[in-house]
């Protein structure tokens, strides 16, 4: 152990020194190595112009399937990659890919984003709604909602995905944006913003985007203590909400990435129709309950899984069907220098008393993932609810452990039924940790976000610039879940 390590005796230092000074003999990925897989197959791939990718959304428009993929900012080495379609250097923004033939994805267009590196710029978020579904949208138009870096939200007309046109922009001196949610049937959008005066980097701005050309703000929302003018401890910042829509009348908010996670269950109607002034009372009024997670974990995604029949409970006189949420933490630090971020299932059948009942993580020893380089741990799940997988299988990214297919038909006992760890390429960017003040870098896949389409294809995108991999479950595995 190096001298600086020996000088420190805290738990932090001992653990971290051990982690960072024993990074040898691991199964590091090398260019040319094949992907690692179980019950999942590679169908197609696109390099996304070697841009770091965040949120994919796949939309079935007409007889085509189009993937809209948000990007993080560029790297110091390549802050403004060249778009081969235009020959122009463009700040990372939104990639639009025709995936109608998933074996041969076609890159159609890149909408540039805000200038900035990493989390600072680009256009990370995508959601797509059809004007035919939006109450006041143009019936022949497809709309893309995206972030513009950290300063704005934008709506684009992507009816012709190869030639998007800006429809409207929501600004307001925002200091951050992130993983928003858009209800296509009502047009209500829960935009993750950082509004001026709020004591948090990320909170919710609720908008009526039923007419995408004319956004109407409904209210600002957050946890009491985050609102302007408050003092004392600042509650954990928002990561993202998911609405179950007007019928369920619930919105599920996840706060925190890898620390201090909070799940908040909110009455949608009270949120939308209650007094909008951000007083502590008004912020508390729509809340049904909170579930405070361990301070060691966050809540990147809170995916509602409502009215799930539980096979094990089928002969019980009560509780055969449960309302569940799946909570996905976000790993934030390279090479396991943090508590494990993983997946948790909470039973929210009795909403006032939510309770974590099970969990899932990748077996670290199965791939020596703490020594492979980059982040290891969960990040994100699919959020679309197409019938082929709904309440049966979820896909969760685990950074250097790729994407994991989890059978959730019994959410009290989730089990892995497949995985895919994409191969790295020349474009994959290394991830570094400091050893005695100097960078020590490794290159590993960093599967960041994942989404599905209504055909059952799985789209996993890479934070380390390796592109989008289009996957499918093996036929045997599909049969095992009744497909």
């Amino acid at each position: 152990m190096s001298l600086p390590c020996a000088k420190w005796t805290s738990v932090l230092s001992i653990a971290a020194c051990f982690l960072l000074s024993n990074a040898v003999h691991a199964k590091e990925q090398a260019i040319g190595d094949p992907p690692e897989a179980k019950n999942m197959e590679l169908v197609g791939w696109n390099d996304l112009q070697q841009r770091s990718a965040y949120q994919p959304t796949v939309f079935h428009q007409g007889n085509r399937w189009i993937a809209y993929i948000g990007h993080h900012g560029g790297t110091e080495a390549v802050p403004r990659p060249v778009n081969p379609l235009t020959g122009q250097a463009e700040f990372n923004g939104t990639s639009i890919i025709d995936v109608t033939d998933p074996a041969k994805p076609v890159y159609l267009h890149h909408i540039p984003g805000q200038e900035g590196l990493g989390e600072s710029g680009a256009a990370q978020m995508t959601r797509v709604c059809s004007g035919a579904q939006l109450p006041k949208g143009d019936k022949n138009t497809i709309y893309l909602l995206r972030t513009f870096g950290n300063i704005a939200h934008e709506i684009w007309n992507v009816t012709d995905p190869a030639a998007p046109k800006l429809v409207s922009r929501i600004e307001g001196q925002l200091k951050d944006t992130h993983k928003s949610w858009w209800e296509c049937d009502t047009g209500i959008a829960y935009l993750v913003s950082g509004a001026p005066g709020w004591r948090t980097r990320r909170m919710t701005q609720v908008y009526d985007l039923s007419d995408p050309a004319h956004p109407v703000k409904i209210r600002d929302f957050g946890l009491p203590g985050q609102q302007p003018g408050s003092s004392g401890s600042v509650p954990t910042e928002l990561h993202g909400p998911i609405s179950a829509g007007p019928d369920s009348n619930r919105v599920y908010f996840g706060y925190g990435t890898n620390k201090g996670g909070i799940i908040q269950i909110v009455d949608r109607k009270k949120l939308l129709e209650g007094p909008s002034e951000p007083t502590p009372e008004n912020l508390k009024a729509p809340e049904i309950s909170q579930l405070a997670l361990s301070p060691l974990i966050g809540a990147h995604t809170v995916l509602p899984l409502l009215k799930m029949p539980i096979p094990e409970f089928k002969n019980d006189k009560d509780g055969q069907t449960r309302d569940m949420v799946m909570i996905v933490d976000e790993s934030l630090v390279n090479e396991c220098a943090e508590a494990r971020q993983m997946v948790w299932f909470a039973d929210i059948t009795v909403e006032a008393r939510p309770m974590v009942v099970s969990n899932f993580t990748v077996d670290e020893a199965s791939g020596d993932f703490c020594q492979r380089g980059g982040r290891f741990g969960s990040h994100s799940s699919n959020e679309a609810t197409f019938a082929i997988f709904n309440k049966k299988v979820v896909f969760v990214t685990f950074f250097n452990a790729g994407v994991r297919a989890i059978d959730i038909r019994d959410p009290f006992r989730p089990k892995e039924i497949g995985y895919f760890i994409p191969a790295i390429t020349q474009a994959t960017t290394p991830r570094c940790v400091k050893i005695n003040g100097a960078d020590r870098c490794k290159t590993a896949i960093q599967s960041n976000n994942v989404e599905i389409d209504d055909r059952g294809y799985v789209y996993v995108v890479d934070r380390a610039n390796t592109g989008v991999h289009i996957l499918k479950l093996s036929d045997e595995t599909l049969k095992s879940i009744g497909q």
Partner: protein
């Protein structure tokens, strides 16, 4: 080790206070939270003019890797003053604080703890995606400038 990784070998930008105060290492005085415990020190009134407890710890993984500590919100949320009191009230806008390559902000607060009014100081410094958080609690009557103590302890940890 992480502080050693983050802190430069070069001297800090702030001057040490006149008369070296004596800080004694103590056990981490606050409950476990999401971050591993760090280092804590106590200074006696005979040395510092007022009883004081100062903590330092590294927090790996900050989202603002490129922008660093942008505003007082970062100090309110990351400096560990909330471990001392959850009802702290800022006294004024924070100020820039730099220690070698580490840059950030310092801010002062007040809080009532067990019926007694206290003065709190929070410091957050960052480099890349990592943060050094520091906090200090003293009696309300204390008016000492603690900048040099923060700097010296950051630089000269055992």
């Amino acid at each position: 080790m992480f502080l050693a990784m983050l802190l430069p070998v070069a001297s800090m930008s702030h001057q040490e206070p006149a008369g070296a105060s004596t800080w004694t290492a103590i056990d981490w005085p606050y409950p476990r939270d999401g971050w591993p415990a760090g280092h804590a020190f106590r200074c006696a009134p005979s040395s510092c003019g007022a009883p004081a407890v100062l903590t330092l710890r590294v927090k790996l993984g900050m989202c603002n890797c490129d922008t660093g500590v942008r505003d007082d919100l970062e100090v309110d949320g990351l400096s560990d003053v909330d471990l001392i009191s959850s009802t702290f009230v800022p006294l004024a806008p924070g100020t820039l604080f730099q220690a070698g390559a580490l840059r950030g902000r310092m801010r002062e607060y007040e809080a009532v703890i067990d019926g007694a009014r206290k003065r709190l100081v929070g410091v957050v410094l960052s480099r890349g995606c990592d943060v050094v958080a520091a906090s200090l609690v003293t009696p309300d009557r204390d008016r000492r400038d603690w900048t040099g103590d923060f700097t010296r302890l950051l630089q000269n940890l055992p």
